[in-house]
Symmetry: C2
Subunit: 328 residues, 2 copies
């Protein structure tokens, strides 16, 4: 674990089994990481109950933040309440009260709140969710896993750049090999989007020593021998990641190096945001928090931004609402 | 194994390691199935060499058929030679010399040859490749795995009907539950194609006692508890299937019930056609041959056709070249 305090805002209402598993995951996370401070964000009645339950030792490192907007929203649909909560957590990051944000809520709502509240990098029209799978020769970075379901070829090419930068910064992969996911490895294989993206990637300047290795197949995502970064649309990436998770469940458990991740980092907004699987268990929430702390301590999001086109990420935010973010 | 002779035409040039693994797979298949007869179809020089190598016992059940078109094609690109071979194998099925066809060649070329040579069912605009995965509560039928990469919603709805009929006929699944693959299970999740297909499937009449259960996720393809038939586009299905294969390789081997299949049945043409993984090994070719024999002995293709809209499949073929088949 890298040194340094990390202050993580956690969305108490995010996830199928919130707030119970979120609180459980938060407690696990602080036990595992002595330099972690958590800001649990949720509606007043949930927050009050939680504050009363924390013991004095826990209160040193866990702060509970009632969401004012959510007061009196008990009669509102749960989706509206959850969106209000994730927006408040984003605001905490924007205002510098927290260093990063973790939510197991609806991906679309979290991405939209992050784009509007933290600002989108201008050279990234559609933010990407990035998942890292342990593979034979090192980590495989898969993106997108649900941020943009129907990206254009130019967006996929942009995501290749993001993924290569992320592999270098977050996982210290030297000279990452970038592949485009398709139904075969020969040039020309795939649907229209893939056939249009392949030639774009062949000429796309990639950060650091990254290089494009051409088309890769589903097999290469779990095994990882052919590429360190696998680029695909958010629909395919999402079902692929969950299929690998299902296969490991069928095979009696994940391989020694670890299974399919249930937390993903958001790339393309000016802040550290981690999205957990909607069906997150407490240990998934805890590993989402650990991922957010890891990314913050490495200053990964700022470094990825700096690798894109030079300049200081904090000056290049774009709070335009003309975003292509789609709710999934 | 069902009783009855099955005569299977095998494309000697199909697959990355053809003809060696194809011949090896063919020999394994005849050893495993005493009622199997094979017609190995390939260019004259490959055929001659193979005939010379067969012993008298093998010659009783293995016939080698030189492709006349391929004579003198040694200078042609290998893809053109392979297409000539698969066309000759299709012709053998059309002419009643063989009952079914197996190829590990390029999927697009095989599908096109089958549509042109055997005829497409008029109610199926785009044929589908169907793979069956062993799961916890029984087989899961996944389609499409590479036949039509960019189907319209109406095609996906049609494939749901094909998949349900196939699950009943080929795998004796009673009242199959049909799911549409997406990025979440709540209605409205997914890209435009999925959001348009979900309401179509809710009203699509399904054969037998099949019923639509709504959206399912990647996890459900390998595990199978929520649906017996999973419908998706050929791009997603292909990468998904190969991802599950990769996950099993990472996990140290497939589960007890079996791994990801490397052979798929083609539905939508008037004949029994099985497509093997391009990187097929000898045992994959052998299991593709066994699948073709199984489908023929059950008269599965005719029964699926009969379940569609009534009538006799052999009178309803459409050899129109106005097909939407895409090479992948």
């Amino acid at each position: 674990m890298e040194p340094g305090t990390a202050r993580i805002a956690v969305d108490l209402l995010g996830g199928d089994d919130a707030p119970a598993v979120v609180v459980d995951g938060a407690l696990r996370a602080v036990r595992a990481d002595p330099d972690l401070h958590l800001l649990l964000v949720g509606p007043a009645e949930v927050a009050d109950e939680l504050i009363a339950a924390l013991d004095p030792v826990q209160r040193v490192r866990i702060t509970v933040r009632p969401v004012r907007d959510a007061v009196g929203m008990a009669d509102h649909p749960s989706a509206a309440r959850a969106e209000s909560t994730v927006r408040a957590a984003v605001t905490a990051v924007h205002d510098g009260i927290a260093d990063a944000l973790v939510s197991a809520g609806a991906t679309g709502a979290t991405v939209t709140a992050a784009v509007l509240g933290l600002g989108r990098w201008p050279e990234v029209r559609q933010p990407a969710l990035v998942a890292t799978l342990p593979a034979v020769t090192g980590p495989v970075v898969l993106l997108d896993v649900g941020g943009s379901l129907e990206p254009r070829p130019a967006t996929l090419a942009r995501h290749a750049v993001l993924g290569a930068a992320y592999a270098e910064v977050a996982h210290a992969v030297p000279e990452p090999r970038v592949g485009l996911l398709s139904v075969g490895t020969e040039a020309g294989k795939g649907d229209r989007v893939r056939r249009a993206t392949d030639p774009l990637l062949a000429i796309e300047p990639l950060p650091g020593g990254a290089r494009y290795v051409g088309l890769v197949e589903g097999y290469d995502v779990a095994v990882g021998a052919r590429a360190d970064v696998v680029v695909t649309d958010g629909f395919t990436g999402n079902v692929l990641l969950k299929a690998i998770e299902g296969a490991y469940a069928m095979a009696g458990g994940p391989p020694v190096g670890g299974g399919a991740p249930r937390a993903a980092a958001l790339l393309g907004v000016a802040g550290t945001v981690v999205v957990c699987h909607g069906a997150a268990r407490a240990d998934d929430v805890a590993s989402g928090i650990a991922l957010a702390a890891h990314l913050w301590r490495r200053r990964a999001i700022d470094l990825v931004s700096a690798l894109l086109e030079g300049g200081d990420a904090t000056d290049r935010t774009d709070r335009s609402t003309d975003t292509e973010v789609r709710t999934s």
